[in-house]
């Protein structure tokens, strides 16, 4: 398998009042091309920090992060990032938000419109293309953010608890929709969450992290077929994996 993102011996220390805090301790993780990896763990396990490093928004302390074999030195349009707080530009319509990244690329206006429209259709916001974010529900806002990330054609999607602020019902709908989008235009996805069900339902592999210091506790393969449906969600096999992940998240042996 082709490795897309590779974390190699990544550590990060934050200087806090009253001492140093080891946020990540020698993390090694390879994510394959077009793989869907979810990262789950207790708060303070450094999962967001790990993703921030892949995005190029956080500098690793020691170790390195490779994207297609080349070290990550900063943010770039080859990696799309979805934030929990949506981070839509409130003064721009859905369409203009989606076009924001495209305007930074050397493409014609026609090409830009075409690609923006495609991304908007992909997430099902066609009827809301000219609406301002303030008129959208939380779920629609996050779909707009996903369209904005998809539009620039990144090879990697980095999602930091993207559905964390949504109600349970909307969350399930967006999970199905994300998988639907992903299966049609497959990308490498690194998805941070604190929801065990979500982690299992979406992923090829679930990375379970532990806190103090932040490190990888276990990696659990999810051998469930795509497309995932309600049937999968309610299957005994899903429950088995879910229980396994649950135990490794909530019953971690304390660090040696």
């Amino acid at each position: 398998m082709n490795t897309k993102i590779s974390f190699q011996g990544v550590s990060k220390t934050f200087e806090l009042k009253g001492g140093r805090f080891l946020a990540l301790d020698r993390v090694d993780l390879d994510i394959a091309d077009r793989e869907f990896v979810t990262v789950v763990g207790p708060s303070g396990c450094g999962k967001s920090t790990l993703m921030g490093m892949a995005a190029g928004l956080v500098e690793p302390g020691t170790g390195r992060i490779l994207l297609d074999g080349a070290p990550v030195t900063g943010p770039g349009p080859d990696r799309g990032v979805i934030f929990q707080q949506y981070a839509l530009f409130p003064w721009l319509t859905v369409r203009k938000n989606v076009e924001f990244g495209l305007r930074l690329q050397p493409i014609s206006a026609e090409e830009r419109h075409r690609r923006a429209q495609h991304a908007i259709d992909l997430v099902g916001l066609t009827d809301f293309a000219d609406a301002l974010p303030k008129t959208l529900s939380g779920g629609m806002k996050q779909r707009c953010a996903i369209a904005r990330a998809y539009a620039v054609g990144p090879q990697v999607l980095l999602m930091d608890e993207p559905f964390g602020a949504l109600d349970a019902l909307t969350r399930v709908q967006l999970q199905d929709q994300l998988l639907d989008t992903w299966s049609r235009e497959r990308r490498t996805v690194m998805f941070i969450t604190h929801d065990v069900d979500e982690a299992v339902y979406l992923a090829n592999r679930v990375v379970v992290m532990a806190a103090r210091p932040g490190r990888i506790h276990r990696i659990i393969d999810v051998d469930l077929p795509y497309p995932r449906t309600e049937e999968v969600r309610l299957s005994p096999e899903f429950s088995r994996i879910r229980n396994e992940v649950w135990h490794s998240v909530y019953h971690q042996a304390p660090a040696a």
């Binding site: 995005a55 770039g76 349009p77 981070a87 530009f89 924001f100 930074l104 008129t135 529900s137 639907d180």
Partner: protein, 266 residues
């Protein structure tokens, strides 16, 4: 996917429904009640207090002989010049302070220091340094407008949501693009609030500025009226200042609605 679109509820409308008609009626009722109270007070025999009728009559007189119009134009010119110069300078300086920590460290002590001095206290100094022409009057108004709006602009730049900046950065935006396409629009609401505060400060300084040997202007007219115990003229001056200030503030409010209508409110 269609299931998502169908069950995704549109955001519910705000709890308080706006009823502009009712608000307007209440506004008019409040103004009429105020005028009524004023009339009652003046008729109850408070020494020297003139009623609305006398004031209106004086207003008509002053308009007829051109005095009021001249005074208004003179005052408006000063307020507008000082306010325009003040806010025009405040916007770039505010951006500079918000965007560059070095600029902030260099400029902020001066801004914070001069902000604590009431503009009126600058007047004696302004007269000695700039004489008694238009310059010192416009200068103190400028200073008042600048100091009150620069703080708001720079606070606005500081308060730009870091997630928005990161969102632009991961889409490939350069610092320049982030500044122009994210920081500037995101801080527009603060800039306009700063302009409104600056306008209030400019009007607030006007009367005092016109104490500096002016030959015309609303503040000058009221000062003269005080010497002659001419209450109706003082009232006309006060009401003119209030009405002009209100009109300018409403104009800025319109600009605010136009440029910052995207904000999520209440």
């Amino acid at each position: 996917m269609t299931a998502v679109s169908v069950t995704d509820p549109p955001p519910s409308p705000g709890r308080r429904l706006r009823r502009p008609g009712r608000t307007l009626v209440l506004n008019v009722v409040a103004v009429l009640a105020g005028l009524g109270a004023w009339t009652a007070l003046s008729m109850s025999g408070i020494t020297g207090l003139t009623g609305p009728v006398e004031v209106a009559a004086r207003g008509v007189e002053l308009v007829a002989d051109g005095t009021l119009t001249n005074d208004m134009l003179a005052s408006l010119r000063r307020v507008f010049t000082g306010f325009a110069l003040g806010t025009l300078l405040a916007i770039p300086v505010g951006f500079l302070m918000g965007w560059y920590a070095t600029a902030r460290a260099l400029i902020e002590p001066y801004v914070q220091f001069f902000r604590t001095i009431p503009p009126l206290a600058i007047i004696p100094l302004a007269i000695l340094l700039m004489g008694i022409g238009e310059t010192p009057k416009v200068f103190v108004i400028f200073l008042a407008a600048f100091l009150s709006s620069v703080v708001s602009t720079f606070q606005g730049v500081l308060d730009v949501d870091k997630t928005l900046i990161n969102a632009a950065r991961v889409l490939g935006a350069s610092d320049r693009t982030i500044f122009l396409k994210v920081v500037v629009p995101a801080s527009t609401p603060f800039i306009i609030v700063g302009m409104r505060i600056g306008l209030g400060a400019a009007w607030g300084t006007l009367v005092a500025a016109e104490l500096i040997a002016a030959q015309e202007g609303l503040g000058y007219r009221m000062q003269q009226a005080q010497l002659y115990y001419d209450l109706p003229t003082i009232f006309v001056g006060l009401i003119s200042i209030g009405v002009l200030g209100l009109i300018m503030d409403r104009l800025l409010l319109l600009a605010e609605r136009r440029f910052t209508g995207w904000q999520e409110r209440r």
